[in-house]
Symmetry: C2
Subunit: 331 residues, 2 copies
């Protein structure tokens, strides 16, 4: 397969952790194309594309992408557009990553707005749930939420073999009457049988914040503002608890002995909660693959993002979404 | 002091857990007035008010409160209005609890909409953070968010002695330019020095979902839809992790030995994460005290809600908010 374009300049730990992640991926048989400033990337035996600019983590996305045409992000997106790379991965400025992908790869037909699909760990199961939009669009209309539902269902079926994903709409109560005007309108549109049939999904109604990590829903749909707040509340809670646990484990001799005995039982849980194992979020709806990693990504996190992206290439996620969005509900 | 009116019919575990909670409170010197159906409450030596109706957990709040005038919820709110009780506590239908309090106690002057203020545990500190609105108003305007900020600051100062609470606005990035139009407008209004001076608070700008349990903010302000989603995401994550931990602790002989050794170190963390110790949310902005407990409240949770409510009475929370809302920013 074509290599995955990896933005060597993106993220708080670039380029060190990024290049280390590329090495891990290559050892696992995943081809990588490094995109970055030659003198920063240094000597490397990876295939590479050189760029002369870096979009800063806090730069204004739209104008940066328009003016910095030789940036590593824009060059990464162009590599996908031009058939030099099968996908792009970046831990850089999220907004600029989205803007680069959107402006260079364009939208899939039938998609009004791309959305960020993020995986949510289900602690007692291997397969995650999916939340979208996790932050691409602060404001949405009800039709877009239905598009997100279609794309999310395809994503979960394609990547995790869930035959008929259950789609829930994030609200503040299960009753259809609960929520904002947007939620109420989206609830009505999502209840329509035709899109569910066309997408091979089942709409199960409104779900709540507490369902995100549970077994009762597979794909949670919401606007990008609510989705981002919920995701960060979830991440913040998990990280606060994990930190408090680690502190308790080291707080006395008894605690150290006890935690050593417990480690084998806790390892799988720790693995599922570890941000390194999440692997980044997918920008769905653009005509090419784009994975957005955390800015704080370690080498392992970049490796995992490359693994997930490799799966998305192999399973032709873009083709699957394109086909699903082209299916008109029978009327 | 006047007794606290306790809705004996409210919640999944009523009346058993509620009455047990009342006993625990009485032992701690907190006077309670039971409100409920005499034949359900049974023989009791608590002072009581009898009601003939119960508003169901899933009943439509507004119409229920208007038509069921002899319900335990409406009678509880009337007891506060009529000076028979110092406050009301219910684990019943949240919407109906709010509607009863609002319709019978009315609003404090200067408050457009009451808001639900909920405490967020900070895992390595005794004092919690405060989030409001946690669900009273799905849709808000920017002026209401400023009112929430004022009330939240007064709440934290009055109950937890925080001299100058730091107020953050919940958004999806720290930059003022991030978020929905509501957030952007509220950010501008909150940045005004005059309300901060009048409320004795400091606006620190936008905060994110991951700051909710942290040390960088004291009062987090948001609309009731976003607040409720964030709160439930947080609660769901905490409960998923605690359940996974408890399962791991019991998964082998080694794990059982290890967790026994760890227990003393984990007990404070478990205490802070235990829903029983949260004690319910306060409806701020009505002209009387109203504490809303979880529908699933145990006796201990009801006891804790009565304790917190007792503190609110002793510290004259309604008087404090009334005074703060009457202070016009100098102009």
């Amino acid at each position: 397969m074509l290599p995955i374009a990896l933005d060597a300049m993106g993220g708080d730990n670039a380029p060190g952790a990024i290049i280390e992640g590329a090495h891990l991926a290559r050892e696992a048989g995943i081809p990588v194309l490094l995109v970055g400033l030659p003198d920063v990337v240094g000597e490397t035996d990876f295939p590479s594309i050189s760029a002369s600019e870096v979009i800063a983590m806090d730069a204004e996305p739209g104008s940066s992408v328009r003016t910095m045409k030789d940036s590593s992000l824009v060059r990464s997106a162009e590599a996908v557009r031009d058939g030099q790379a099968s996908a792009m991965v970046s831990g850089g400025n999220t907004g600029a990553t989205m803007a680069s992908a959107l402006l260079r790869m364009k939208r899939i037909k039938g998609v009004s707005r791309p959305a960020i699909a993020t995986t949510l760990p289900v602690l007692d199961r291997d397969r995650p749930n999916i939340l979208l939009d996790a932050g691409a669009n602060s404001e949405c209309n009800a039709e877009w939420l239905v598009q997100f539902a279609r794309m999310g269902a395809v994503y979960l079926r394609t990547l995790h073999n869930v035959e008929k994903p259950r789609v829930g709409l994030l609200s503040i109560g299960e009753e259809d009457s609960k929520g904002t005007p947007l939620v109420k309108e989206a609830n009505k549109l999502l209840a329509d049988a035709e899109w569910q049939h066309a997408a091979g999904a089942e709409f199960i109604g409104n779900v709540e914040g507490r369902d995100l990590l549970g077994h009762d829903v597979d794909v949670v749909v919401t606007d990008g503002f609510t989705g981002n707040v919920a995701l960060k509340a979830l991440e913040g809670t998990a990280s606060a608890i994990v930190n408090a646990l680690l502190q308790a484990f080291d707080s006395s001799d008894d605690a150290r002995t006890g935690s050593a005995l417990l480690m084998p039982a806790l390892a799988p849980l720790y693995g599922r909660l570890n941000p390194d194992s999440i692997g980044g979020a997918a920008l769905l709806g653009v005509n090419g693959l784009c994975t957005i990693s955390h800015g704080s990504s370690s080498a392992k996190a970049i490796f995992h993002a490359l693994q997930v992206t490799h799966d998305l290439v192999q399973r032709d996620m873009v083709g699957q979404i394109t086909a699903a969005m082209a299916t008109k509900p029978a009327s």
